[in-house]
């Protein structure tokens, strides 16, 4: 018979056990009267050494009342008891044998009132206070755990099983629940002792009433080598530890009575565990990508090993509290990962609870395996991406590790912060306040494949630093590891971008959307900037488009009215880059803005960086627009493209701009084959020239009917210097002028003596022509512009015998229209050899008369009926020749002379 142990001075920690038949016809509110426990050495002395394999005693007493017969009876019948053990107080059921439940209540010799569990499955004693008075002691056996429990213990009480089911709760706390207390078990209280080393010979006398099938064996060895079972917590800083208990009764089910117990010394002084400096903590950690390929998508394998001391004479290994891992530079987040990725919300992960994890499958970024000495099975699970911002760290990146073994009722949820360096993308992962549960190995694997979480650096050997801290000591243990990338080393130096650009509807003179696309092969240098020169005549209608103000552009808040197109960006490493915009997300816009970096206009690409579960804000890239003043050819030049966003490198794979505002982009009226030219710059300073063939069709269907009216005004007599006004009108929808030559009537000679001041080319380029070099004025109306262009007409030095006639047209854009002056058959001729392929509805050129008049009459005009010879070449190849009669103000002699 097992001797009953008396409770020594109560010293905390308690698990409750107990079942009682309640008295009372009208049951009073059920309550727990006392709830206490202690930790002792084998000799019964109190023990506070952290990690010690102590004897752990729990005791519960139910209140008693006297019934009408004067008998003392319990004041209620325990139905359920739940006990939250302090964090870190754990038992390891794998070090002892197990007993099938059926054997606990079946003895082939003595019947079902006795157990036939093997001696090596005994883990402690239950000393039961009977309602009839007296105590009985029965061995507590380690049962084969039922599905859903981490461990299950039990004892046979009058043929019924009293089960103690252990679950893993919040923070790794062990929660023991007694739901199996049958009302048939007529007990009023129980002291439960769980042994520190159950297989030790010291327990031979207590191990079982039945030993190897024999009754009343005084010495019943476990026949297993001594191995630790219970271990005290390893957090000395926690101070006195609290154990919570709650119980309800069959009379008032669901009405729980609570009790708590603070760990204390025999004299009642609260205390926690101590002696943490005596604990040995030697973890190691290795980190390696899943590929040796450079600049490639990669998974990551992390293995954290914490050797557990299983020597029953030693102290338990302290539990891991914090892990900080700094990955090497270059091992960065892969934007491709966002393709199809989802994130797990706080509600779905349910941190701090044992609720089922409902993170979407698409938020799975890896797997985890944990080997713990507490279970024979591995605990497996998944790594989920936490929802940006609404995670415990309010961070962009965070991971949830969920490891579960449903069969063992184990559910571990961890949250870790992943902090990318905003400038380099270097990653630091931190998991803190991890549960106080022992484990030997934790293997974390982030998924590889095309949409892997990370990108490898270029070739080389890299080191990873880990700092591992236990609950026992504040000092971290450092563990470094390294890996080598030595495959595909040459790819990163290449830069062969692709380039496609043009209009979708290549009909001459018609409006069409214009798109530009730059692609970059995987693994090459990243794109840093994009420049492009459009074909002549590929223009935009600026009229009626409000501009995005600079402040709006800077804020990424251009108004919708200024939108002229859309953009799309594909980014990431590997075969499956992520594209922005994604379905349902904001569409990046391209907006027309005002002057920028010397250009008269600019484009602002506002790209909401929303991919998968991420929202990295709006990226605003401004592109200068320049217009060649001679050809009106448009060129664009982007600002440097951002290379990293909030620590996530953007490996551009596909950049697309689609200028698609209705009626905005206009095709040329020349069908000559041309090209959209470009220069793509890399982050390494490379600049690659690219072009994309460009040609429109249908020019022959365009009309070409320019009309020119000439008027000479002022004195009409010979030697007078008339004023000349030429007015060109163009019908809508036709081809634009490519070249214009006007040969004045033979009545006019060039008055060379009036050519006094000429603007040099240098002056002209510097916009510093002397005022005296102005000889006329020009004004041009275009449907593409809100206002006409206008400006003075200069004589500018040239390489020809005569200076050029240059109209400097200013307005929304600047155009220099340069005319060559020469003579043809002794007649003065001005030829605009290069007229931009741009629609002009009206053009008026006025040359001064009088003292600044460049013309001189060689006859009386009113008698001459002078005619000019005019030839226009259209951009579409058509020509228009005419000999218009030059109008003369015969009734207003002398007026022009005054000028």
């Amino acid at each position: 018979m097992i001797a009953l142990r008396k409770l020594v001075n109560t010293f905390t920690l308690a698990l409750v056990l107990g079942a009682a038949f309640g008295a009372a016809q009208a049951p009073a509110a059920f309550s727990i009267e006392t709830f206490d426990g202690e930790w002792t050495a084998l000799d019964g002395s109190s023990l506070t050494q952290a990690g010690a394999h102590a004897e752990v005693h729990f005791d519960i007493q139910c209140p008693s009342v006297a019934n009408s017969r004067g008998e003392t009876v319990p004041d209620g019948t325990v139905r359920t008891v739940k006990v939250d053990l302090p964090p870190g107080l754990v038992g390891n059921p794998t070090t002892v044998g197990t007993c099938p439940e059926a054997k606990l209540v079946f003895n082939p010799v003595l019947g079902n009132l006795f157990s036939s569990c093997p001696p090596d499955s005994t883990v402690g004693l239950a000393e039961v206070r009977l309602v009839q008075g007296g105590l009985i002691a029965v061995p507590v056996s380690n049962l084969q755990p039922a599905p859903g429990t981490a461990a299950q213990f039990g004892f046979n009480l009058f043929g019924g099983i009293v089960r103690i089911s252990a679950f893993t709760g919040e923070g790794g706390r062990t929660i023991s629940t007694l739901t199996q207390v049958s009302q048939a078990a007529q007990v009023v209280g129980t002291e439960l002792t769980l042994w520190g080393v159950p297989t030790a010979d010291a327990h031979n006398a207590e191990r079982g009433i039945i030993c190897e099938g024999e009754f009343g064996v005084p010495d019943c060895p476990a026949n297993l080598p001594p191995a630790p079972f219970m271990a005290l917590p390893t957090d000395c800083a926690a101070g006195p530890l609290n154990t919570q208990a709650a119980a309800d009764s069959w009379e008032q089910p669901g009405l729980f009575s609570s009790a708590s117990s603070i760990s204390h010394l025999p004299d009642g002084t609260p205390t926690g565990v101590s002696g943490c400096e005596n604990l040995d903590f030697k973890p190691t950690m290795t980190v390696s990508p899943t590929t040796r390929e450079a600049l490639a998508p990669t998974g990551l394998e992390v293995e954290l090993t914490v050797p557990q001391d299983q020597n029953p004479e030693s102290l338990a290994t302290p539990h891991v509290k914090k892990v900080v891992t700094q990955l090497p530079p270059g091992l960065t987040v892969n934007a491709s990962q966002a393709n199809g990725l989802a994130a797990c919300s706080p509600q779905q992960i349910g941190l701090g609870t044992n609720s089922a994890v409902t993170c979407p499958e698409a938020s799975t970024v890896g797997t985890v395996e944990i080997e713990t000495p507490l279970l024979e099975e591995r605990i497996e699970g998944s790594v989920y991406l936490a929802q940006q911002g609404t995670n415990p760290f309010n961070s962009l990146l965070a991971l949830y590790i969920v490891a579960a073994n449903p069969e063992r009722g184990v559910l571990v949820k961890l949250a870790g912060k992943v902090a990318p360096d905003a400038r380099t993308g270097q990653l630091i992962a931190t998991f803190d306040e991890t549960p106080q549960l022992p484990f030997e190995t934790l293997r974390l694997r982030l998924n590889g494949g095309d949409r892997a979480a990370l990108v490898t650096p270029s070739c080389g050997t890299y080191g990873t630093q880990a700092e591992l801290t236990s609950w026992a000591q504040a000092e971290a243990v450092e563990s470094d590891s390294s890996f080598t990338i030595d495959q595909g080393c040459g790819r990163g130096a290449q830069f062969t971008p692709g380039f496609t650009a043009g209009t979708s509807n290549p009909v001459a003179g018609k409006s069409s959307s214009f798109s530009l696309r730059v692609t970059r092969p995987d693994g090459q240098e990243n794109v840093a900037r994009v420049e492009s020169v459009l074909p002549e005549g590929l223009l935009a209608k600026l009229a009626g488009v409000p501009l995005c103000a600079d402040a709006e552009a800077a804020a990424g808040a251009c108004p919708e009215a200024s939108r002229v197109g859309a953009a799309a960006v594909g980014a990431g490493v590997g075969g499956s880059p992520v594209f922005v915009p994604q379905p349902g997300k904001s569409v990046p816009g391209v907006y027309l803005a005002g002057p920028y970096k010397g250009g008269p206009y600019s484009l602002v690409a506002q790209v909401p960086a929303q991919a998968g579960p991420f929202d990295l804000g709006t990226v605003s890239v401004r592109t200068r627009i320049e217009i060649d003043p001679v050809t009106a050819r448009v060129s664009v030049s982007s600002d440097p493209l951002p290379q990293i966003l909030q620590g996530i490198p953007i490996s551009y794979r596909d950049i697309r701009v689609d200028v698609n505002r209705g009626g905005f982009t206009l095709n040329p009226t020349s069908c000559t084959p041309m090209a959209v030219q470009g220069t793509i710059g890399s982050v390494g300073g490379k600049a690659v020239s690219v072009d994309s063939r460009f040609q429109v069709a249908g020019c022959e269907r365009l009309g070409f009917k320019p009309k020119l009216a000439l008027r000479l005004s002022g004195k009409t007599n010979r030697s007078a210097h008339p004023k000349l006004q030429a007015t060109l009108t163009m019908p809508q929808g036709g081809a634009n002028i490519a070249r214009a030559a006007v040969t004045l009537p033979k009545t006019e000679f060039l008055e060379q003596s009036h050519i006094k001041t000429i603007c040099t080319r240098v002056q002209y380029a510097a916009k510093a022509c002397p005022k005296a070099s102005i000889y006329g004025y020009a004004k041009a109306w275009s449907p593409l512009l809100d206002k006409p262009l206008e400006g003075p007409v200069y004589l500018r030095s040239s390489s020809n015998p005569l200076p050029d006639l240059v109209a400097s047209l200013d307005g929304q854009i600047h155009i220099d229209l340069s005319g060559r002056i020469d003579t043809k058959n002794a007649r003065i001729r001005n030829t605009f050899d290069l007229v931009p392929d741009a629609p002009v509805s009206k053009f008026v050129l006025t040359m001064q008369g009088g003292k600044k008049g460049l013309l001189v009459n060689n006859t009386e005009l009113c008698k001459a009926k002078p005619r000019a010879d005019v030839r226009f070449d259209g951009q579409n190849g058509k020509t228009a020749d005419s000999q218009p009669l030059v109008k003369v103000d015969c009734g207003k002699k002398g007026k022009g002379e005054k000028k």
């Binding site: 099938p100 859903g148 069959w250 095309d450 979708s504 069409s512 696309r517 020349s670 050899d833």
Partner: protein, 624 residues
């Protein structure tokens, strides 16, 4: 899924071990398959009590609903005994409580109730003053049905009954709404010896009760009696031999028909004219209609007629026409004297089913199931009966010589024996196969229930750890069917823990098994649940369970968005020159000289060519 989604952390009980040998469980299934009573390892949330044997009842209407069958407990110490069920059938329980739960019942008395398992409604059977400290055993019962109960009681519940204080009992029948004393008040009924329900001491409608009755103080002299319709019993183990006194002689019932019209019993006393008077144990067949007694086994020394050494019963068909028994005598061709032989008897013909090696006392195992019509018998044997060696290389079969028990099926109509659980490819045996389960559902140890496992067409349901089909990949116990030589999985073969057979209805349209695996969407916990594999499929309301196979790698992520289609760039596809004619290029002036005559001629040609869409250049310069 039959069991509730929320089981308060409890599991459907899966384990029953006899002598270290697993055997199938037995849950009580109603004839229509719409009800099943089984044991949970803990109380449901709404349970009013948690007795040691915590059984629940699930009933199917549009969906399965489950109620705790725990009887509300009597407050202690007013009560002297726990409220509990003492007998159970698929439809009804016989409950003891000291609470007055219906009119006529008195709180503080011992009250016996019939309780409808489907509705939970109580019907009072008896209410009597509760003496101090009654025991569970004093509530021994033989059978309970929808409107009857047969039970033993030491207390005098009828005027003519005796009030006993020891272990002696009166035998009562609650039948036709009245309580009847069946035994002679001068005798006692050793109810504990009559509690193997497979022997059918009580007919299905409760109208016939076979019972043993012995003079007080001489329980060894118990003879077999038959009570009909609540009337006092009349002896049937009475010699028909000419000249013998018509005195009851000791006998043991080993089986009866479902309606009780036919009964088989053994006796060492010669009761018929052809029985030899040498105290050989003979099986007799008794028919109620003509009060006739026929000796079934005659000839050499037979021995051990009971099929099941753990109980008192042997397989008898529902109509009583088929009987299976064991004898160590050669009663039919092939039988071996001194060995354990299983025989089948029908209509006067005895056939050998199987003969076990001489001296091997472990066979057959006490697990069997008989089809309703009696033509098919399933049983478990450790011996190699059909050629498969279930001993060599076996594993997981401790004790019993190391051989693994296999399920065999005998078909009377073909006189053939098949092994249902032997691996088709002859792999070494692994673990015992079980059939004909057993389970104690109430506090009353005699009230064991046994599962039905075989249909009239010979389809047998069993569980085994052996992998019999390729899709059984879990290495755990799984539930199979064997039909016309082919085995099929009933459980999935993928559960992380054992799936255990629990029972079926007589027609076999509903087969119940327990498994931890989640097979429907409504199953949301990790506990062991009861499932019904039924003809016609599952319940749509419970939904199909999504695949539990975890995703792996980037396959977990949603479908990758395909890149948007490349933009249409028509301008890069245009070829040729759409200009009317190639205008003079600019940027390089033409010669100032007037074009020569030849050039002018060429110019004219150019205009013509332009009209014809051809290209003719009068003055070429650089391209723009």
């Amino acid at each position: 899924m039959v069991s509730p989604a929320d089981k308060n952390g409890a599991n459907v009980s899966q384990a029953e071990i006899a002598s270290g040998e697993p055997r199938a469980l037995a849950s009580l299934v109603t004839a229509d398959g719409n009800g099943i009573s089984y044991v949970l390892s803990g109380p449901l949330k709404d349970a009013e009590a948690y007795p040691l044997y915590n059984f629940v009842r699930s009933s199917r209407a549009s969906d399965w609903m489950t109620r705790s069958m725990a009887t509300k407990q009597t407050p202690w110490p007013v009560g002297t005994m726990m409220s509990t069920s003492v007998a159970i059938s698929a439809s009804t329980t016989l409950d003891y409580s000291e609470l007055g739960l219906v009119p006529g019942a008195v709180t503080g008395n011992g009250n016996l109730y019939l309780r409808d398992s489907a509705t939970g409604a109580y019907t009072l059977v008896a209410s009597y003053p509760s003496p101090a400290a009654p025991t569970y055993e004093q509530q021994a019962a033989l059978a309970v049905g929808r409107d009857f109960a047969v039970f033993g009681q030491p207390h005098a519940l009828t005027p003519e009954a005796n009030e006993y204080t020891g272990i002696d009992q009166n035998l009562y029948s609650f039948y036709g709404g009245e309580l009847h004393l069946l035994n002679d008040p001068a005798s006692v009924a050793p109810v504990y010896e009559m509690q193997d329900s497979r022997a059918r001491y009580v007919s299905e409608d409760g109208s016939r009760v076979y019972f043993k009755q012995a003079p007080q103080g001489n329980p060894q002299a118990s003879a077999l009696y038959l009570s009909e319709n609540g009337a006092p019993g009349r002896p049937i183990s009475v010699s028909r031999r000419p000249g013998d006194l018509p005195a009851p002689v000791p006998a043991e019932l080993i089986g009866a028909s479902a309606d009780g019209s036919v009964a088989y019993f053994t006796s060492f006393a010669p009761l018929t004219a052809n029985a030899e008077p040498n105290r050989r144990e003979v099986i007799y067949r008794y028919t109620v209609a003509d009060d006739e007694l026929v000796a079934v086994t005659l000839g050499p020394e037979p021995y051990a007629y009971k099929f099941d050494r753990e109980g008192q019963a042997t397989p008898v068909s529902e109509d009583g026409s088929y009987l299976y028994f064991i004898a160590q005598a050669a009663l039919a061709p092939g039988g071996v004297t001194g060995s354990q032989n299983i025989y089948a008897w029908h209509d006067g013909e005895t056939r050998l089913v199987a003969s076990f090696p001489e001296g091997f006392q472990n066979d057959p195992r006490p697990f069997w199931s008989l089809s309703s019509d009696g033509t098919k018998l399933a049983f478990v044997s450790l011996s190699s009966l059909t050629g498969y060696d279930n001993a060599s290389g076996s594993s997981g079969c401790d004790g019993l010589g190391g051989a693994c028990g296999e399920v065999f099926v005998y078909d009377w109509s073909k006189d053939q024996l098949h092994c249902a659980s032997c691996p088709p490819a002859g792999e070494p045996a692994r673990g015992h196969a079980t059939v004909g389960g057993i389970q104690q559902l109430t506090i009353n140890p005699g009230q064991r229930t046994y599962s039905r496992s075989i249909r009239n067409d010979g389809t047998v349901f069993f569980d085994t750890q052996q992998k019999l089909v390729a899709s059984d990949t879990n290495g755990k116990r799984d539930v199979y069917s064997f039909q016309e030589g082919a085995v099929s999985l009933i459980s999935t073969g993928r559960s992380p823990s054992d799936s255990v057979y629990h029972g079926m209805n007589p027609s076999g349209t509903d087969v119940f098994f327990g498994t931890e695996e989640r097979l429907v969407a409504a199953d949301t916990d990790a506990q062991v649940d009861m499932y019904d594999a039924r003809v016609g499929g599952g319940l749509a309301s419970q939904g199909r369970h999504p695949s539990t196979a975890p995703c792996a790698g980037s396959g977990c992520q949603g479908t990758a968005e395909a890149p948007p289609p490349p933009p249409a760039v028509g301008s890069s596809e245009v070829r040729g020159d759409g200009n009317a004619s190639n205008r003079r290029d600019r940027g390089k002036r033409c010669s100032k000289k007037p074009p020569s005559r030849r050039a002018q001629k060429g110019k004219k040609k150019s205009k013509k060519a332009g009209r014809q869409g051809r290209r003719a250049v009068a003055c070429r310069g650089g391209n723009r």
